[in-house]
Symmetry: C2
Subunit: 165 residues, 2 copies
DNA sequence: TTGAAAATGAAATTCATTTTCATTTAGCAT
DNA sequence: ATGCTAAATGAAAATGAATTTCATTTTCAA
């Protein structure tokens, strides 16, 4: 199931898309890989989607644009995107690996509803500060963090309240 | 590989062990399940170990105490322990599900070294406060959270510095 | 244009997790 | 104590996501 995702981000501008492609192809050249149409399609599809995608979900979306692209290629491209920082894995409680785009995004975190699976983004600069502080305190060279809050969202709370009447 | 784990917690006292068993067996009775020797052995083994255990790792430890206990039983018991709050899953970057004990533990978080996989616990009451605040702000009934910092630990930093010379 | 290196995608493999099922056990009622 | 019934057990099979293999096709630099 596609994860519903609530945030306040606009879709990527043509400009941003271009920049992301640039980053991707620079990365490919750096590690001696080639520029292909499939990789292009996969990158675009990924950037056009705001949800947290599993490999399989991205694969389905990619197939709509080019039915000949295989799962394996999507899988490998997603890894490349993660390598160059355009995507990053978000651990979700359903066990599958999900990716979100990382390019041009404010540092953010997620609230995940354990009932319906919806995830709501939130922004809290404090969390970033904590990362720094704690890294310093423990002599840990902190590069990134992960913060999720689990609970029941308003909709589900109302839903089950209604049922209870 | 067993995750090295650095924290400042003492092994469980006989007292704490007893209390945990009590919680477990009350839970079993509540849901109409039975008290068995296998479950007892598994609980004890789990509590005696401070590391973050995957099901398979716990299984290996349990086998040392009673070679006849099967993987399936460990797997199912671990789920029961999670149900009654004695264990909880910690999402690790290696993809496998890992559990830690939750009984009588302060709320804590993890720093994970992306190089050697070691995890260091830290305590930060601020994180709990953030959970509350944010839940209130977004009308989200927050029940728990997850906070991990990724980076390079001091040992690995020294190690690679040495290599570079 | 051409050839070497890389990419592709279907299929096979791996591996953790979960389920099935025949057998054994716990614990309640007698 | 004894029998009974629901639950527990554990070996094996099933599942399903992640990863690898390999024969074929494509890219791109010379």
């Amino acid at each position: 199931m596609l994860q519903r995702r609530i945030d306040d981000h606009a879709p990527p501008t043509r400009e941003a898309m271009r920049e992301a492609q640039d980053i991707f192809y620079k990365h490919l050249r750096r590690v001696g890989l080639k520029h292909t149409e499939q990789r292009d399609t996969i990158l675009r599809t990924f950037l056009d989607t705001r949800d947290h995608l599993s490999t399989d979900e991205l694969f389905r979306l990619v197939k709509k644009r080019d039915a000949k692209i295989g799962f394996t290629t999507v899988y490998r491209t997603l890894k490349l995107l993660a390598e160059c920082g355009l995507a990053s894995a978000v651990p979700f409680p359903d066990g599958t690996a999900r990716y979100e785009h990382q390019f041009n995004r404010r540092s953010h975190h997620h609230m995940v509803c354990t009932e319906c699976g919806a995830s709501v983004e939130f922004f809290s600069p404090e969390v970033g500060k904590l990362e720094e502080e704690i890294g310093r305190k423990y002599h840990f060279d902190a590069t990134r963090h992960n913060f999720q809050i689990y609970g029941i969202c308003e909709d589900c709370r109302k839903g089950s309240a209604r049922k209870a009447i």
